[in-house]
Symmetry: C2
Subunit: 443 residues, 2 copies
């Protein structure tokens, strides 16, 4: 399995994980998929890792989320200790997918879901319940269907090398979700209690967490306003729920493994005074047609620009990072600052924290503009461009179509690409190949 004689502790973990995965796959797949996986594993093994994973979080760089401030008239909060469970009958259980490569993104769902209703008229949050995955029943005037009173989070459960299930920095998701609730006139809640309920759901549906490190179980916490009234106003009834979906990779990439982008200044994702920094449904509907246009032009994602200087803000549904040689001749990783225009990504925050701890290159939060990208490309100083997010971890970019011109970015041509190191480091934490405080084990 390895050509290197000196095997360090991390490699042992990685190989151990692969063994478990191989066994699991042999049992589950009985197909040539395992062969492919083995080949892919061998391929991966060839790359060497330059950077150490620091099994700690440097508080200098991490901003732990602040406790949520609840509205005075919120009413009572829910507690995980009140959780009730109604299990699916054997007849309701769905067959689990036996081919991770055909999972796609968010098409299959597990057997159970978590639901917590909020009714101001009943005093606040109701008791959390886990039920079989079932359709939601709502009044046709429900605010969510008219005024987009809705927000969500994206998390993942990973099957670790030790067979345990892990989730990644859930406190960050909970903090962000509560900020979005506040911005939407929806009720806030205690994130810890929700994560405890979620852990129970994950335990119940644990067999849905793929036994591989090329897939995971996507967690979709959602909060919707369900008041059956047509006034554009806060919703006095809401439903907080979570569904789970085993997922492969989110994005279709070209044969290179990288994505091509449409950068058209005619479209804007967010604006000062808007909600571009909150994970609200309303940020997404307006992007669908633009994404369609990108696809029609043979491009895989949209690079969202802002302002007269064509600042890069996000790519698809990801934060954007650029690795380049700065004016001082130093290698630097740069990403746009949290100005209110971009989503405060948890992968983004983790990458900034990690790479600052590495100290191997400069790390900076500052605006990147398209003219800057063009100039760096002309001078051969742009090394890598990639998106970062929960769904894809990192997603390298190799081409941008900008003002009718194709800009080729050499992201995939670097010998030791930084985006690959970042991906490996993050997935090492997520799949438990190293212990790390960002990983939370589901008992």
């Amino acid at each position: 399995m390895t050509t290197k004689m000196a095997i360090n502790a991390k490699d042992i973990f990685r190989n151990q994980h692969r063994m478990i995965k191989f066994i699991a796959q042999s049992i589950r797949l009985c197909s040539n998929q395992s062969l492919k996986a083995a080949q892919a594993a061998q391929q991966l093994q060839k790359s060497s890792v330059d950077f150490e994973i620091t099994a700690s979080v440097n508080t200098q760089y991490t901003h732990a989320p602040e406790p949520v401030k609840h509205d005075k008239d919120l009413g009572h909060l829910f507690k995980a200790s009140q959780l009730t469970v109604r299990l699916a009958t054997p007849q309701q259980l769905q067959p689990k997918p036996d081919n991770d490569e055909e999972l796609g993104f968010g098409r299959l769902f597990t057997d159970h879901m978590l639901k917590i209703y909020y009714h101001k008229s009943l005093g606040g949050w109701q008791k959390p319940e886990i039920t079989p995955l079932e359709n939601l029943v709502m009044h046709p005037a429900a605010k969510v269907l008219h005024y987009a009173v809705e927000l969500f989070e994206g998390m993942k459960a990973y099957r670790g090398v030790d067979g345990k299930i892990r989730i990644f920095r859930p406190d960050m998701n909970m903090a962000r979700m509560n900020l979005a609730a506040q911005r939407s006139g929806l009720p806030t809640f205690e994130g810890k209690e929700f994560v405890q309920c979620l852990s129970r759901l994950l335990t119940i549906d644990s067999e849905w967490v793929p036994h591989t490190d090329t897939a995971s179980l996507y967690i979709r916490p959602t909060l919707i306003g369900i008041d059956p009234t047509l006034g554009v106003a806060s919703s006095d009834s809401a439903l907080l729920y979570a569904i789970l979906s085993p997922v492969g990779s989110y994005f279709k990439t070209g044969s290179s493994g990288a994505v091509s982008l449409l950068a058209d200044p005619a479209y804007t994702r967010a604006w000062p005074g808007g909600v571009g920094n909150r994970k609200m449904g309303s940020n997404y509907a307006p992007t669908i047609n633009v994404q369609k246009e990108a696809a029609a032009r043979g491009l895989q994602q949209v690079l969202w620009l802002y302002g007269e200087d064509h600042q890069l803000t996000e790519v698809g549904t990801m934060n954007i990072f650029m690795f380049y040689v700065n004016d001082q001749g130093e290698q630097e990783l740069i990403t746009p600052p949290l100005s209110g225009l971009i989503l405060p990504g948890i992968t983004r925050d983790s990458i900034l924290n990690m790479t600052r701890q590495w100290g191997k290159f400069k790390v900076r939060e500052a605006n990147i503009t398209m003219p800057m990208v063009c100039e760096l490309l002309n001078q051969g100083r742009l090394l890598e461009l990639f998106g970062a997010g929960t769904a894809c971890v990192v997603s390298p970019v190799n081409r941008i179509n900008y003002l009718g011109q194709d800009l080729y970015v050499p992201t995939m041509e670097q010998e030791k690409p930084v985006h690959e190191l970042i991906r490996e480091t993050l997935t090492d934490i997520q799949y438990g190949r190293v212990d790390h405080p960002w990983s939370m084990v589901i008992d």
Copy 2:
């Protein structure tokens, strides 16, 4: 009932309408509400109308909506001739409200609804059906609940002086709805066929159309994407539906009958490259919290500003109009142009068309800025400021809180306010006091 000796044809119609209304109210109300209505009617009678209603539409000013362009892969369209009806059982029928003043906005719904499903996998649009008003059942991953894949229209059915039910310029709503569908990656449809289905629904629930000209039956056509998949992408399944709600006045006003506004440049409703000119749910969720803030400051609506020069774009969910004395010393009605930042209101279009036909003052589409408002107020040249929309027809503004300062607008202090003339003219058309091609009678 009238102090004037010369009663023209319009007054006859108006009085006839009031008689019908009085009889209907006497039967339905048996309360002191009818007395109040009579007093209000007498009050109204005292004002005189300066401007003639032209019982025609000047094509010079009206832009008839263009036919919708359907996507090639849309599949088959639905036809009103395929409509099926499942009536509510007597047990399902809801009691009708017997007090129009307590209707509020969009809290009560009629007995039936219209539903038309779209499934690309089944070839396109399915057959339209009218059913009892019932809850919608949808998968918890339905795109509408996550990415705000939703849009709507606002229309009204009016009980005319002749007892007939009328709707106002439905072709305009249908054109706008199809534009929003295109922008949202949702399927388009033939507006005429939908209006025919809607007419049938109105006939079935006709007794819900209030017998008064202070209330109406609000029509809420809605289109939502219901694909149960979590990719941010076009929805291959959709539901087009309509619900009906008897409504009084939309806005709470101060004792003066006018509204006060919060104008805070920190919040932006729409921006270039966004979807501010489409009636999509995503434009509304971000406004709820700002509206809450306005209410907390004792103000009734939000005046949405844009840009460094603080352009007035919309007020609450309405278009904005200003009547003032321009630099040439002429009276002028001005409203922001359809720049992509504001909703192309049907009331807005009607007001522009009507007042241009009147030819009594200048009418112009141009930007209005807050500095301009302040200067005009200082010089005593700002006469009236009002919002215009389907829900409220016109809504006069008497105060703006701008940068911490209260600006008092003399809208309610004009002797013959233009906004009142506009309201009367529009409601005369809507309630059939005059025949007009903008009114469509439901047979």
